[in-house]
């Protein structure tokens, strides 16, 4: 059973998002248990989670030169687990506004609130733990192919 664990800590700044996506995609390709489409899903997920973390830290007024996000990625033969953690102010993941139906004309008013739905839809398993000390978004993507035994 393979176990690869990588972790990355970067400043909570938008310029680092492309780098984070590159690292996560690069890691997923070192042990290619996900096909390209799933690697792309992972890029979207990590980008959404880090974007939220950056915003939470900015809202909290954290010092932009020290505020950081931690991204951990854990690969086994079966799955990729990704955890994005921040020390922002937290939120109630259960209490998010429900999006109006897309066909509802008021849907056009909504330019936001698509991040967490995307994270949930693109992962096989997702879990958000949040409190005043910060937020952890954990997702799991199952291996695309059954592991070679």
């Amino acid at each position: 059973m393979k176990h690869h664990r990588i972790s990355l800590r970067v400043p909570a700044q938008p310029e680092y998002l492309a780098l984070v996506r590159m690292v996560i995609a690069g890691t997923a390709r070192i042990e290619p248990i996900l096909d390209d489409e799933r690697v792309d899903d992972l890029r979207v997920i990590v980008s959404e989670a880090c974007t939220n973390a950056i915003e939470a830290l900015r809202e909290r007024g954290s010092d932009p030169s020290t505020a950081a996000i931690t991204i951990e990625c854990h690969l086994t033969d079966d799955a990729v687990e990704l955890v994005v953690a921040d020390e922002g102010g937290g939120f109630d993941p259960g209490g998010l506004d429900v999006l109006p139906e897309v066909t509802d004309p008021s849907r056009l008013r909504i330019e936001r609130g698509l991040g967490i739905p995307l994270i949930r839809a693109l992962s096989d398993e997702s879990e958000i733990t949040s409190g005043p000390e910060g937020t952890q978004v954990r997702v799991v993507l199952q291996a695309t192919e059954p592991p070679a035994v």
Binding site: P14, L17, A18, E37, E48, I110, L114
Partner: protein, 113 residues
């Protein structure tokens, strides 16, 4: 470091904005600014060509929704060109394929309008 390409051209009375690169919270402001600028100049029939976009996340989607709203309140229209499955997927999941007219080519987009 992150480049976002924005190239403007004309087609049959439509402003065609070809976007290339990665659209995320670092680069989306440039896209938003450009779209707001176009509408400000009275260009309310806009095609956003996403064929050369490698990555888009919800921040990018939000900018496009905002621009659509803006052109509609000006009696205009905004159409997208996109065939890449990885980009289409985020539109599908968020239900935005029902909000936007998504075309396979710029020609198709401008003819359909």
């Amino acid at each position: 470091m992150i480049e976002l390409g924005l190239e403007l051209s004309e087609r049959d009375g439509w402003a065609v904005l070809a976007v290339s690169g990665e659209v995320d919270v670092a680069t989306a402001p440039r896209l938003r600014e450009r779209l707001v600028g176009l509408v400000g100049e009275g260009r309310t029939r806009i095609v956003v060509d996403l064929e050369k976009v490698d990555f888009i996340d919800s921040t990018g989607l939000g900018v496009l929704v905002g621009a659509l709203k803006r052109v509609r309140t000006n009696e205009g229209d905004l159409a997208l060109v996109c065939t890449g499955p990885r980009i289409l997927k985020v539109f599908e999941i968020t239900g935005l394929t029902k909000v936007f007219a998504i075309h396979r080519t710029v020609d198709e987009a401008t003819l359909a309008g």
